[in-house]
C-alpha cells in the first residue's frame, strides 16, 4: 500500500508489473471480521476468494494464515484481468455465494487502487440480498445481523436478515498479522482453482478507460517581502 505509482507512458493505465502487491487493507479488516465471527461460533466456515492471475494465491495464503478454512482462486489473467472491474467481480462473487450457499459475503468497502466502492453493493444487488456497507460494528443476533454503519452524518444502526453482504470500514477491527508459523500451518489448507466461465460469468467490460494522467504537480509557492508586495501580487493574479 506504500509503493510509488507510475503512469504508463501510453497513458493507458498504471504500471503494475514488478510492483509489490498485497491484500487490500479494507479486505484485511473484512477477513479479520469473518475469522472473529467464526471464533465466536457464529459461522462454521470461512472461505477466502480472490480473482486474478497466479500471484493472487499469495494473498489467499495470507487470508488462510489469518484463519480462513479454505480458499478459492478464480483465475483471470491477461486482457480480461486488465479490464476486470467491480461488475465482473460482483458477478463472480454472486455466482460463488449461490454455489457455496454462503450466509454472509464480507469484503472491504473499497479497493485502494481503484477506489470504486462498488463491488459489495453490486454483489448484493445481483443476489438480491440486504447489504450492510461501511460497517464499523457487526453483531449476529439469531437469523439477523445488526450493523453499525459509518455514514457522513455519524453512525447508523440497521438490522438486516441473512444471507447478506457486508463491507468493512476502517474501524471495524484490528486485523491480525499473518506470522510465519501461521503461514506454515496454512500451507495445508486447500485452494480450489476455477475460471469465470465455470461459474457462467462473462468478463466483458462495459467500461473503457480512455486515459490515465498523473495529478498536476503542485507549483512552488512564491515568497513576498512585505504586505504591499502580497497585495500587489494578489491584484495582479486577479484574486482581489
Amino acid at each position: 500500500y506504500i509503493v510509488t505509482i507510475r503512469v504508463k507512458p501510453d497513458h493507458s493505465g498504471v504500471v503494475t508489473d514488478g510492483v509489490k502487491h498485497s491484500m487490500n487493507p479494507f479486505c484485511e479488516i473484512a477477513v479479520e471480521e469473518a475469522v472473529k465471527l467464526k471464533e465466536k461460533k457464529f459461522i462454521k466456515e470461512v472461505v477466502a476468494v480472490s480473482c486474478g492471475p497466479t500471484q493472487v494465491t499469495e494473498t489467499i495464503r495470507t487470508a488462510l494464515a489469518m484463519g480462513c478454512d479454505r480458499g478459492i482462486h478464480v483465475e483471470v489473467s491477461g486482457k480480461d484481468y486488465e479490464a476486470m472491474g467491480p461488475l465482473q467481480i460482483a458477478k463472480i462473487f454472486a455466482a460463488l455465494a449461490k454455489k457455496e450457499e454462503a450466509s454472509l459475503v464480507i469484503l472491504g468497502k473499497q479497493a485502494i487502487d481503484d477506489d470504486c466502492n462498488q463491488t459489495g453493493q453490486m454483489t448484493a444487488a445481483l443476489l438480491d440480498w440486504p447489504q450492510g456497507t461501511f460497517a464499523s460494528e457487526v453483531t449476529i443476533d439469531g437469523e439477523k445481523v445488526k450493523v453499525v454503519r459509518e455514514i457522513d452524518g455519524g453512525l447508523e444502526t440497521i438490522k438486516i436478515s441473512m444471507p447478506a453482504v457486508l463491507t468493512a470500514d476502517l474501524r471495524l477491527n484490528t486485523p491480525r498479522y499473518a506470522t510465519l508459523p501461521n503461514i506454515m500451518k496454512a500451507k495445508k489448507k486447500k485452494i480450489a482453482n476455477m475460471k469465470p466461465a465455470d461459474l457462467g460469468v462473462d468478463m466483458v467490460s462495459r467500461v473503457e478507460v480512455l486515459r490515465v494522467d498523473e495529478p498536476p504537480t503542485r507549483l512552488a509557492g512564491v515568497k513576498v517581502e512585505t504586505v504591499d508586495d502580497l497585495v500587489a501580487k494578489l491584484k495582479a493574479n486577479g484574486t482581489i
Binding site: Y1, I2, P25, F26, I112, L170, T174, P175, R176, Y177, T179, L180, P181
Partner: protein, 137 residues
C-alpha cells in the same frame, strides 16, 4: 477519533521505531549455535525455540520501515551478542523478550497502515477544528 488519540498514535509510532531497536540491541537474546555441544537435554527444545524465534523475527523484518537489511543486521547482532548464555531460565526470559518484540513489530505495522488509510480516506479532525487544509467551497 478524538484529537488526543490521534496525537497519541503519532507519539507511539515515532517512539516505537527507536524503542524497538533499543530493545533488540540491548536485550540479550540468546543464540544457541547449531554446533554447540550441550550437556543437558533441556537445551534442545530451547534451541529450536530460539531458532524459530529468529526465523519469525526475520520474517517480520521484511517490512521494517528502515529496510529489511538494516533490520537483519541488528537482529543478527542482538542474537550473536548472547550466544554463550547457557542457563535455561535466562534463555527462556530472553526468548520471552523476543516474543515481546514480535508483538511490538506487529503493532507498529498495524499503526502505520491504519494511519496511512485514515490520512488518505478520512478528513482529519484536527484540520477540521483548525479549519486548515480543507477545500474552499
Amino acid at each position: 477519533m478524538p484529537i488526543s488519540e490521534l496525537l497519541l498514535f503519532y507519539i507511539i509510532s515515532c517512539c516505537m521505531l527507536n524503542h524497538l531497536l533499543y530493545v533488540l540491541l540491548f536485550s540479550s537474546i540468546p543464540v544457541v549455535k547449531a554446533a554447540t555441544v550441550s550437556g543437558s537435554d533441556m537445551a534442545n527444545p530451547l534451541r529450536s525455540e530460539v531458532r524459530q524465534l529468529y526465523k519469525n523475527l526475520l520474517f517480520l523484518g521484511r517490512e521494517y520501515p528502515k529496510g529489511a537489511d538494516y533490520f537483519r543486521e541488528r537482529l543478527k547482532g542482538a542474537f550473536m551478542k548472547n550466544k554463550d548464555v547457557t542457563d535455561p531460565k535466562e534463555i527462556k526470559k530472553l526468548v520471552d523478550r523476543g516474543e515481546f518484540v514480535i508483538k511490538e513489530l506487529e503493532a507498529l505495522y498495524y499503526l502505520r497502515k491504519y494511519r496511512a488509510m485514515k490520512k488518505r480516506y478520512y478528513e482529519e479532525e484536527l484540520s477540521a477544528v483548525l479549519n486548515i487544509g480543507r477545500p474552499v467551497d
